[in-house]
Amino acid sequence: MPILSVRGLQKSFGNFNVVRDVSFEVERGQKVAIIGPSGSGKTTVLRCINFLERPNGGVIEIDGERFGVRMTGGSERFESDASLAKKRADIGFVFQRFNLFSHLTALDNVALAPRLVRKMPREQALEIGRRMLARVGLSGKENNYPDALSGGQQQRVAIARVLAMQPKLILFDEPTSALDPELVGEVLAVMRDLANEGMTMLVVTHEIRFAAEVADRIIFMDGGQIVADGPPRQVLYDQPTDRMKQFLRSLSSDNAPTAGAPS
């Protein structure tokens, strides 16, 4: 059974259909990258998966369990906030702009959800917090507030915060797009480690080279639809569509997957 199943997902803002009929599955332990031009709907797909945005149509299933909608007496209803919260706890979400809690230290950022959501005793939550910060290479930064950390460090704390909840699946929304170029590497390195440890990951990214190396599958989106879905080699090189070629050309040569790609 796939850990994530998306079927016929639709989302519109006003009259604008951002996501039109998107379907795909992610198996346990798989790493899937979603790429595509800006405005193609990739971030919206990610945000619909854990109901940060309410989809207008379609089905989201996590571990075979319907997400966001409850069946009562044969009719569909939106799930209550409390019930949604319980399910969201199992899905990590890493934001483009980190969104660390600005009034809490790095350690408290990581320990808060285990304490409040998993009802862990304070000491145990802090212990997990320290372990997760060590795992992303931030031992010694426990007592720093977010504004005293670099962007790369903040994003690594954000990843540690997600790991502390032992998620079944982590959604990454352009995790390196807001970073200075010299800080991108440290975040990608942490993500690479997670991938090697078998974490299930769905990553919206512009880092094509990273996607090509780490992902089992690449989904290429354009105009709110999936245009290609397959192994990186196939999607990027073997059978690239015209739109894909155009997209790859639009990326900086520094980031492009093939040295010979004209820019």
Binding site: F95, N99, V117
Partner: protein, 229 residues
């Protein structure tokens, strides 16, 4: 010049006589201020929550209350509570009417401060919290309120200054605060200038430190916002 030096001569001569009397009144002033501050803060928070609620039965009455309070003079509200209720058979002591009136009045302003403060917390903070599985209440209690309160501190200081000055309205419903006593003293002595200047200095002894504190908090908040951007 002669009248000016006469003013100070009398001022210093009478200070020891007036001051203890007025200080008793100023104590009542502070009690009225503190009492109504507590009411305004608690009721204000509830109003802010109700105002933002998806439930119309909460948000519409809260909105009407806030508009009514902000659209009418505090003095009118105080008279309704003191004289109006008395006519209906609920006579309240002046002190109680003053605390209740200023508290109910302040709640509308405090609600607006809370609303502005909560809106100033970036939505990414809420999104991060719910994505970790926090419930809306936990998000409110552990993420949005602590951050909003920091942003709201300068506004609360300014509100406290405003409230301190507004307690003088209590004198017209016979609450024995400092202006009430000052007026009685003036009627005995006819030394309006000396007495009211002295009262003004008493208010300043509280409002100036509060104003300095508000300024410091304001600069800190600006620094915080700058660091977050």
């Amino acid at each position: 010049m002669g009248s000016m030096s006469g003013f100070w001569t009398i001022f210093w001569a009478k200070l020891s006589e007036f001051l203890p009397n007025l200080l008793v009144g100023f104590e009542v002033t502070l009690i009225v201020a503190a009492g109504s501050f507590v009411i305004a803060m608690s009721l204000g928070l509830l109003l802010a929550i109700a105002r933002q609620s998806q439930n119309r039965w909460a948000s519409v009455p809260a909105g009407i209350y806030i508009e009514f309070i902000r659209g009418t003079p505090a003095l009118t509200q105080l008279f309704i509570i003191y004289f109006g209720l008395a006519q209906l058979g609920f006579s309240l002591p002046g002190l109680v009417a003053a605390i209740a009136g200023l508290g109910l009045n302040g709640a509308a302003y405090v609600a607006e401060i809370f609303r502005a403060g909560l809106q100033a917390v970036p939505d990414g903070q809420r999104q991060a919290a719910i994505s970790l599985g926090l419930t809306p209440y936990q998000t409110f209690r552990h993420i949005r309120i602590p951050q909003a309160v920091k942003l709201m501190m300068p506004a609360f200081c300014n509100y406290a200054i405003q409230l301190l000055k507004d307690t003088s309205l209590a004198s017209v419903v016979a609450a024995p605060e400092v202006m009430f006593r000052a007026r009685a003293l003036v009627m005995e002595t006819y030394l309006s200038m000396q007495i009211y200047v002295l009262v003004g200095l008493m208010y300043l002894s509280i409002s100036i430190p509060l104003s300095i504190l508000a300024g410091r908090l304001q600069r800190r908040t600006v620094k915080m916002a700058g660091a977050a951007a």
